[in-house]
């Protein structure tokens, strides 16, 4: 069993350099996307299938009437109870031993349920064309560089962060660090808080936010949608049980049929002897 890790993002140390975005594109070999001017230094409105992390730039009027220029490295939260994993009908989304949530591209059928149910809107579909010109779609998001974790390396974005706004390590240690940091910055940011929402069982990307989550466009109390829970935890197992029941019925029918046929044959045989 591998160790469970957490990416700790302290947005108050971020200087908005976007090196994390470049490192992600570089390591994951993601293509450039042309985007329209957003009205700020922000390059993309949100994460996309080819841009797995986006640096948010937020102009925020603080309680004192002053202007705060807030930055946030936004990417997949790698929830402990991930809605995307729950709704995936093909079991293409799974948890790794490190705590990251990954998509198996071979299993993904591009249904888009994960996209619709992610409380943080970080999953996107990408359209492809096969050699016959047939269109198909696949879901993509940040993998927490699971391929690097398997090699004992930190995610590419963490490695490249020059201000130390991102750290990667043991889950408990990172959460303790986040809590300690909040105490340090309370004077400057009274609304500062650790964002590790328990509605999704806690996350493996834990933030220290300078302001309330809503300022960053984040849900205050994200939850796994009830429909997702109903689907994964009840409907699917019941479905499987039903499948079991159907199988049993089939086996039963087969056995009965055999017996019936046997009788039939005997009858037939008896008939031929006559």
């Amino acid at each position: 069993m591998a160790k469970e890790y957490v990416k700790f993002v302290d947005v108050t140390k971020c200087d908005g350099c976007k090196a994390c975005m470049v490192a992600c594109k570089n390591w994951n070999d993601l293509p450039v996307e042309e985007t329209a001017f957003q009205g700020s230094a922000q390059s993309h409105p949100k994460t996309t299938a080819d841009t797995w992390n986006v640096l948010q730039y937020i102009e925020h009027e603080n309680a004192g009437g002053g202007l705060d220029y807030l930055f946030r490295h936004s990417s997949c939260f790698h929830c402990t109870d991930a809605a995307c994993e729950k709704v995936c009908p093909e079991n293409a989304i799974s948890y790794t031993d490190f705590g990251s949530v990954v998509i198996d591209q071979d299993k993904c059928v591009g249904c888009g349920y994960c996209v619709q149910n992610c409380p943080f809107e970080v999953i996107s579909l990408k359209e492809y064309k096969d050699k016959n010109g047939k269109e198909y779609r696949k879901a993509h998001k940040c993998t927490m560089c699971t391929d690097r974790l398997e090699e004992g390396l930190q995610p590419a974005c963490v490695t490249t962060c020059h201000t130390g706004a991102m750290e990667f390590g043991d889950k408990e240690a990172m959460i303790r660090k986040a809590e300690k940091r909040v105490q340090e910055i309370k004077g400057r940011y009274p609304n500062a808080q650790v964002y590790n929402p328990q509605g999704v069982g806690g996350t493996h990307t834990v933030y220290v936010l300078a302001e309330k989550p809503s300022v960053y466009g984040l849900p205050e109390n994200p939850k796994v949608p009830t429909s997702a829970v109903a689907w994964k935890d009840y409907a699917q197992p019941i479905g499987k049980m039903m499948l079991g029941a159907t199988t049993m019925a089939l086996v039963g029918a087969f056995v009965t049929n055999k017996l019936f046929n046997k009788e039939g044959k005997e009858q037939d045989g008896g008939g031929s002897n006559e």
Partner: protein, 269 residues
């Protein structure tokens, strides 16, 4: 840990050896090592361990040789016939000689010793070197605060081992590491540790495709190389000895490309 060309079994054996050496180091009375920080001698490249007065405890050394032999037999039982008689060959006098010769890395002596006693050539030096290292590492610990630079061409400022490994720290600071005594010292990013060459046009870097953390710095002046590992990317930082072992593929690449771990100035008429 990065995938290594070294087998898991050998990596585990080395990890156990490192743990043993840690344990042995704690058994040494720190007062038996008296460093002599002669600035002029250090500046001239004399290793600090050679200047230090070390009162070796021979019985400990012999006990460690026994322990390492037992560990080797435990990990590969087929070594038993080759290692079983080592104990009988070692007395106090031989142990003192082993320490002296291991200290100066006298391979010729150990090869001769192996030949005279019908041992495989690697055995005597391996045992002597492994059992000597706790002393070297303790010297390094004691003098570390005074060691901030190496003298090009003189090897490790503590034990004299040729420089072959550096790591990148903080904002990209190059720190040379000695896998033998675990001393570390700062070095310029564009400087050859073997000949002191700082001509950027004659310092090149070889990289391995798909290996995001390693590079080999080669010097076209002296044909020397060192391995540079970006340990900032690791989740947990391994010891210098393990980094050195797991990056052995870089030594092969460098040496196959005509570079050496000692460096040698080209002599031209």
């Amino acid at each position: 840990m990065i995938k290594s060309v070294v087998s898991k079994e050998y990596q585990n054996l080395q990890k156990e050896i490192v743990q043993l050496q840690e344990k042995w180091k704690r058994m040494i009375d720190p007062d038996t090592i008296k460093p002599n920080l002669d600035k002029a001698a250090l500046a001239a490249g004399v290793p600090a361990a050679a200047l230090a007065a070390i009162d070796f405890e021979i019985s400990l050394f012999l006990q460690w040789v026994e322990e390492i032999t037992a560990l080797l037999i435990e990990s590969s039982p087929n070594l038993k016939p080759k290692l079983a008689d080592i104990g009988s060959l070692l007395n106090e006098e031989t142990a003192i000689r082993w320490i002296e010769e291991a200290f100066s890395f006298n391979s010729v002596y150990f090869e001769r010793f192996a030949e005279e006693n019908g041992l495989e050539p690697w055995i005597p030096q391996f045992l002597a070197e492994t059992a000597l290292r706790p002393y070297l590492q303790l010297v390094a610990e004691k003098v570390q605060p005074e060691i901030d630079r190496g003298v090009p061409g003189s090897g490790c400022p503590v034990c004299g081992e040729p420089v072959r490994l550096a790591v990148l720290e903080d904002e990209g600071k190059k720190v040379c590491q000695c896998p033998r005594c675990l001393a570390h010292w700062n070095a310029k990013r564009l400087e050859c540790s073997h000949c002191g060459n700082e001509d950027y046009q004659k310092i090149k870097f070889l990289t391995i495709e798909g290996d995001a953390v390693s590079q080999i710095q080669v010097c076209e002046e002296c044909n020397g190389y060192i391995k540079i590992i970006d340990t900032r990317q690791y989740i947990e930082k391994p010891s210098a000895a393990m980094i050195d072992l797991n990056s052995i593929h870089l030594d092969f690449v460098a040496q196959e490309n005509g570079f050496s771990s000692a460096g040698e100035k080209k002599i031209t008429n």
